[in-house]
C-alpha cells in the first residue's frame, strides 16, 4: 500500500455521488466546489465541446439529451446482451453500442466510451473536490457498490477508480457502509434492514452483523424506482395545471421541461420540511402564435404530493415485504432498520416504513450521506488497521458449477473470506460419457442460466463407464486478489484441466492503459486551456485599462507631461497584446500582460497640469 495520504470514501451512486473522509477521528462529508455535498452522477459534453460533470451537466440534461450520460451505474460491468442492459436501454436518452467483448460502450460527442471511463469522470470530479478540500493530492479511496454487484461490476468500478487516478483500497457494499456509519459493527449483533431509496433505484438489504462481521443475507429491490419517479409526478401535475389554464403542453419544449424538472426536484425536497411550497417559473414559454411569454405559478402542498405519489409509497412497502419474505425474515426479527437516500426524508415514506416495521427507523440528519461516511470510516480503518472495523474481503456472490438438470452446485458460498478454496467430487451423469463440460457460475439462483457465466472448459478422455462411476474432482481456488482458478481432475486417470477467471470489467489491460493515458493527456490539455483562458482574461482587463489610460493621456495638455516614449511603448504593448491574444502561446500572453502592466502605471502617472505626477 502506498504511503498514507488523505483517504476518502466514495458513494458512487446511480443519480448522485458523494465523497467523505475521516478528519480528527470524525467522519465528514466533503462538499464539492460549488459548496454542496451531492454531486449528480451526470457527465456531458456541451454543444461547444466542453466536458461537464456533476450539477452543471445535470442542468443541461434535457436541453442536450444525446450528449448527456446519467445512470451509467446501471450499465457498468455488464454485458451488452444482458437483460438489465437491454431493459436500461429503453430509458436512456443517449446512445449505447455493443463493444468488442459484448461490453457496453456509450457514445458521447461522437466517441465510444467504456462505462468505467464515464464513471471515472465522476470519480475524478470527486477526487478533485477532495483535493480542493485537503489542498493536496488524494490517491486512495474506498468505493461503495450495491450488495448485488457481481465480480465483473466490482472490477469495472475498480477500473473506473484507476482511470480517475485512484488506488481503490476496497470495494464495499452500500448497506454495509450505511451500517458502519451508524456504528453498528460495534453496537449491534443480529439482523438489520437497510432501505436505500436513491434517485433512480430502491435497494433493500438484510445484513447479519456478528461481532463486526457483516453478512449480506438478502438483497432485492427495484432498479427503476427512485426519487425521479416522485419528480415526474410533480412535473405531470404542473404540466396538467398549465395546460388547463393556457392550453399549452409544456413537455414539448425542452427548455420548459428542464425548468419543470429542476422545479419539481426543488419542491419535493422543500416539502420534506415545510407543508407547502411555491412553484414560480416566469417566462416558461411563449404562446405558439407569439405574444408575451407566460409564467407558471402554483402552490404545491405536502398533502397534494402525498396524494400524487401514494402508489409509489405502496410499491416501496410491497418490495420491502417481498425481499424480507424471500429471505424468510420477519420485521420483528430485525434489530434495526436504516433509511438511506434523500427520498427517505419524505415524511410519508418514514411513516410507511414505521408502520410496516412497527419501529422507528434510523435516519440520520442526512440520510443521503451515510453510505459515503461509512466508506470513509472503512478507508480510515484499513489504513489505521482498526481490526474491529476492518471489513474482510469476501466473495460478493456464491460460486459453483452447472450440474445435470440445469442446476447449480455451489462450492463457495457468498461472503466467504478470501483467499479460500473448496473441492468437491462429481460423477458422470450419462453412461459411457467421455467428456464433461465444466461451467463456472456466479450468483445465487438455483437455475444455472440465471447466474453469471464466468467461464467454461472441457475435460476430455474420461474412462468409458456407466454413469456415476467416473469421478471428477473439481477445485475452486480464490487468491487474495480475487482471481479464481477452477480445475477438474479425473480421479482414475489423473487427467486435469483448469481455467483461471479474472473478474473483468469488459476492458482489457491494454485498453485500460490507453484510456488512462488519454485521461492524463486530457487533464494536461484541460489545465493548459484553463491557464490560457486565465491569461486572456488578464490581458483583456489590462488592455482595456491601458486603452482608457491612453485615451486620458491624449486628452491632457502636453500628454500629461509624459515623454512621447511612454506613449509609444504603451501603444507597442497594445499592439503586442492584439497580436498574441488569439494565439495559444501562454508564454507570449504572459509577456504581453507584463508589457501592459509596465506601461499602465506610467500612463496613470500623467498629470492633468501637464507635468508628470510622480
Amino acid at each position: 500500500m502506498a504511503e498514507s495520504g488523505p483517504l476518502i470514501g466514495i458513494d458512487l451512486g446511480t443519480t448522485n455521488s458523494l465523497v467523505a473522509t475521516v478528519q480528527d477521528g470524525q467522519p465528514l462529508i466533503i462538499k464539492n466546489r460549488t459548496g454542496v455535498p451531492l454531486t449528480p452522477s451526470v457527465v456531458a459534453v456541451s454543444k461547444n465541446g466542453k466536458r461537464l460533470v456533476g450539477g452543471i451537466a445535470k442542468r443541461q440534461a434535457i436541453t442536450n439529451p444525446q450528449d448527456t450520460v446519467s445512470a451509467a451505474k446501471r450499465l457498468i460491468g455488464r454485458k451488452f446482451s444482458s437483460h438489465p442492459v437491454q431493459d436500461a436501454l429503453r430509458a436512456l436518452t443517449y446512445q449505447v453500442v455493443c463493444g468488442a467483448h459484448d461490453d457496453v460502450r456509450i457514445r458521447l460527442a461522437g466517441r465510444d466510451l467504456a462505462v468505467p471511463e464515464v464513471s471515472a469522470m465522476i470519480l475524478a470530479e470527486l477526487k478533485a473536490d477532495a483535493e480542493a478540500h485537503f489542498g493536496r493530492p488524494v490517491t486512495q479511496a474506498v468505493i461503495t457498490v450495491p450488495a448485488y454487484f457481481n465480480d465483473g461490476q466490482r472490477q469495472a468500478t475498480k477500473d473506473a477508480g484507476r482511470i480517475a487516478g485512484l488506488e481503490v483500497l476496497r470495494i464495499i457494499n452500500e448497506p454495509t457502509a450505511a451500517a458502519l456509519a451508524y456504528g453498528f459493527g460495534r453496537t449491534v449483533n443480529g439482523k438489520i434492514a437497510v432501505l436505500d431509496l436513491g434517485g433512480g433505484t430502491f435497494d433493500v438489504s438484510v445484513l447479519e452483523i456478528n461481532n463486526g462481521i457483516f453478512d449480506v443475507v438478502a438483497t432485492g429491490g427495484d432498479t427503476f424506482l427512485g426519487g425521479e419517479d416522485w419528480d415526474h409526478r410533480i412535473i405531470e401535475w404542473m404540466v396538467f395545471g398549465f395546460a388547463k389554464e393556457h392550453g399549452i403542453d409544456l413537455r414539448k419544449d425542452r427548455m420548459a421541461l428542464q425548468r419543470l424538472k429542476d422545479a419539481a426536484e426543488k419542491a419535493k425536497v422543500e416539502l420534506s420540511s415545510v407543508k407547502e411550497t411555491q412553484v414560480h417559473l416566469p417566462f416558461i414559454c411563449t404562446p405558439p402564435g407569439g405574444g408575451a411569454a407566460l409564467h407558471l405559478q402554483s402552490t404545491l402542498t405536502r398533502e397534494k404530493l402525498e396524494d400524487l405519489t401514494a402508489d409509489l409509497g405502496e410499491r416501496l412497502v410491497g418490495i420491502t415485504s417481498e425481499v424480507l419474505g424471500e429471505a424468510k425474515v420477519r420485521p420483528s426479527d430485525l434489530k434495526e432498520v436504516i433509511l438511506v437516500g434523500g427520498m427517505s426524508r419524505m415524511p410519508r415514506i418514514v411513516e410507511q416504513v414505521r408502520q410496516y416495521f412497527r419501529r422507528e427507523p434510523c435516519k440520520g440528519v442526512h440520510a443521503e450521506e451515510v453510505v459515503a461516511l461509512g466508506a470513509a470510516i472503512q478507508a480510515h480503518a484499513l489504513v489505521a488497521q482498526e481490526g474491529e472495523l476492518l471489513l474482510l474481503d469476501v466473495t460478493p456472490q456464491s460460486m459453483g458449477v452447472a450440474i445435470a438438470g440445469g442446476y447449480v452446485r455451489r462450492l463457495i458460498p457468498r461472503n466467504t473470506t478470501v483467499p479460500t478454496s473448496a473441492t468437491e467430487v462429481f460423477a458422470t451423469s450419462k453412461d459411457f460419457q467421455r467428456t464433461v463440460k465444466i461451467m463456472v457460475l456466479q450468483g445465487e439462483h438455483e437455475l444455472a442460466h440465471h447466474n453469471e457465466l464466468l467461464g467454461e472448459f472441457l475435460l476430455t478422455g474420461l474412462r468409458e463407464a456407466p454413469r456415476g462411476q467416473v469421478e471428477i474432482e473439481v477445485t475452486f481456488d480464490i487468491n487474495a486478489e480475487g482471481i479464481v482458478s477452477v480445475s477438474a481432475r479425473d480421479r482414475d486417470t489423473g487427467l486435469r484441466q483448469s481455467i483461471t477467471v479474472t473478474a473483468s470489467s469488459g476492458l482489457t489491460e491494454d485498453e485500460l492503459r490507453r484510456i488512462m493515458d488519454e485521461q492524463r493527456d486530457w487533464l494536461v490539455t484541460a489545465r493548459a486551456s484553463e491557464e490560457l483562458k486565465t491569461r486572456r482574461v488578464e490581458l483583456d482587463i489590462l488592455a482595456r485599462d491601458l486603452v482608457d489610460a491612453l485615451s486620458r493621456v491624449r486628452l491632457l495638455p502636453g500628454a500629461g507631461g509624459l515623454s512621447p516614449d511612454v506613449v509609444t511603448r504603451a501603444e507597442q504593448a497594445l499592439d503586442q497584446a492584439r497580436q498574441v491574444r488569439g494565439g495559444e502561446d501562454v508564454g507570449a500572453l504572459t509577456r504581453a500582460c507584463e508589457a501592459l502592466s509596465q506601461s499602465l502605471p506610467l500612463l496613470r502617472s500623467a498629470s492633468p497640469r501637464g507635468t508628470p505626477g510622480r
Partner: protein
C-alpha cells in the same frame, strides 16, 4: 448602381424592421439615403420609424467604445490599413488621437466585410432576395451593426443554405459578434447573480429563452457554464446574457476561487 444598391438596402431594412431590429433597419435606410438621396421610400421609412432626427453620422456611430475584446480576436493583426470608405466615424465626435480614434484603429485589424472571393463593390445579380440580404448585411457590417447583419445572414442562409458566401460571412460575423458580446460580459469565469426580486422579474419583457437563461443564474454558475447549459448557440446565449446585463437584471458577480474541472 447606387440607386439599385439603395433599393436593396431598403428591402433589407424592411426585413430587419420586421424581425424587430429597428435600429438596424434605420441604419440601412440612412445608408440607402446616403447612396441615393432621392430615394423617397428610404426617407419615408426613416420618418415613419420616428428616426428623422437620426442623422446619418449618428447612425453610423460604433458602439464599441472601450470594447477591447471586440477586436481582440482579430486573426490578422498586421500593420494598420486605411479604413474602408464605408466606415465613417461620426463627425465632430472626439478629437484626433482620442479613445475613438484608437477604436477606429482597432477596426482596421478586424475581419470586417465580405470574404475575399465575394466582391462587395462589384455588380450583384439582380432580383435575388439572397443578394439583397447579403448586400444589406455587408452594409450593416460596415456600420458595425453585427447583430443586424447576423439576422440578415441567418435569413439569407435559410433561403440559400448551400451558399458558401452566406455561410462564410455569417460565420465571420457571428464570431465577431460573439467576441463583442463576450467583451461586454467581461471575465467569463465570473458567476452572475440576479439583481431583481422574483416579484419584479415577472414584469420584465423577456421571451422564454431569456427566461430560461435567467432561471439558470443562481450565483453559482459562471458565464462560461451558462454557455454550456443554455442549450442554445453561443451567439444566442451571449446576446441574452448581454441583454440581461445591459438592462440591469443581472450583475456580473465575482470570479470563483477555482473553476470546475470540466
Amino acid at each position: 448602381m447606387n440607386t439599385l444598391r439603395a433599393r436593396q438596402l431598403v428591402e433589407a431594412g424592411l426585413l430587419l424592421r420586421l424581425s424587430g431590429d429597428t435600429p438596424g433597419a434605420e441604419k440601412l435606410f440612412v445608408r440607402a439615403l446616403e447612396l441615393d438621396p432621392a430615394n423617397a421610400r428610404a426617407r419615408q421609412l426613416l420618418t415613419l420609424g420616428g428616426s428623422a432626427s437620426a442623422a446619418p453620422a449618428n447612425a453610423a456611430a460604433p458602439d464599441l467604445e472601450g470594447d477591447w475584446g471586440a477586436w481582440a480576436d482579430a486573426a490578422s493583426p498586421g500593420p494598420a490599413e486605411p479604413l474602408p470608405e464605408s466606415v465613417n466615424l461620426p463627425e465632430g465626435t472626439g478629437t484626433p488621437g482620442d479613445a475613438l480614434d484608437l477604436i477606429a484603429e482597432a477596426h482596421r485589424t478586424q475581419e470586417f466585410g465580405l470574404p475575399e472571393s465575394f466582391s462587395g463593390t462589384g455588380p450583384l445579380p439582380q432580383g435575388s432576395e439572397v443578394e439583397t440580404l447579403l448586400q444589406g448585411a455587408e452594409d450593416l457590417l460596415t456600420l458595425d451593426d453585427h447583430s443586424g447583419a447576423v439576422d440578415l445572414l441567418r435569413r439569407a442562409q435559410s433561403l440559400a443554405p448551400e451558399d458558401p458566401r452566406v455561410e462564410a460571412l455569417r460565420d465571420r460575423s457571428e464570431r465577431i459578434l460573439v467576441g463583442m458580446l463576450e467583451a461586454r460580459l467581461g471575465d467569463l469565469n465570473r458567476m452572475p447573480r440576479v439583481r431583481l426580486q422574483p416579484d419584479d422579474i415577472i414584469w420584465l419583457n423577456l421571451d422564454h429563452r431569456a427566461g430560461f437563461v435567467l432561471a439558470q443564474i443562481d450565483g453559482a454558475v459562471s458565464f462560461d457554464d451558462l454557455f454550456a447549459l443554455s442549450g442554445m448557440s453561443r451567439l444566442d446565449t451571449a446576446r441574452i446574457l448581454a441583454q440581461l446585463l445591459d438592462e440591469g437584471i443581472i450583475a456580473p458577480g465575482e470570479s470563483p476561487v477555482s473553476t470546475r474541472g470540466g
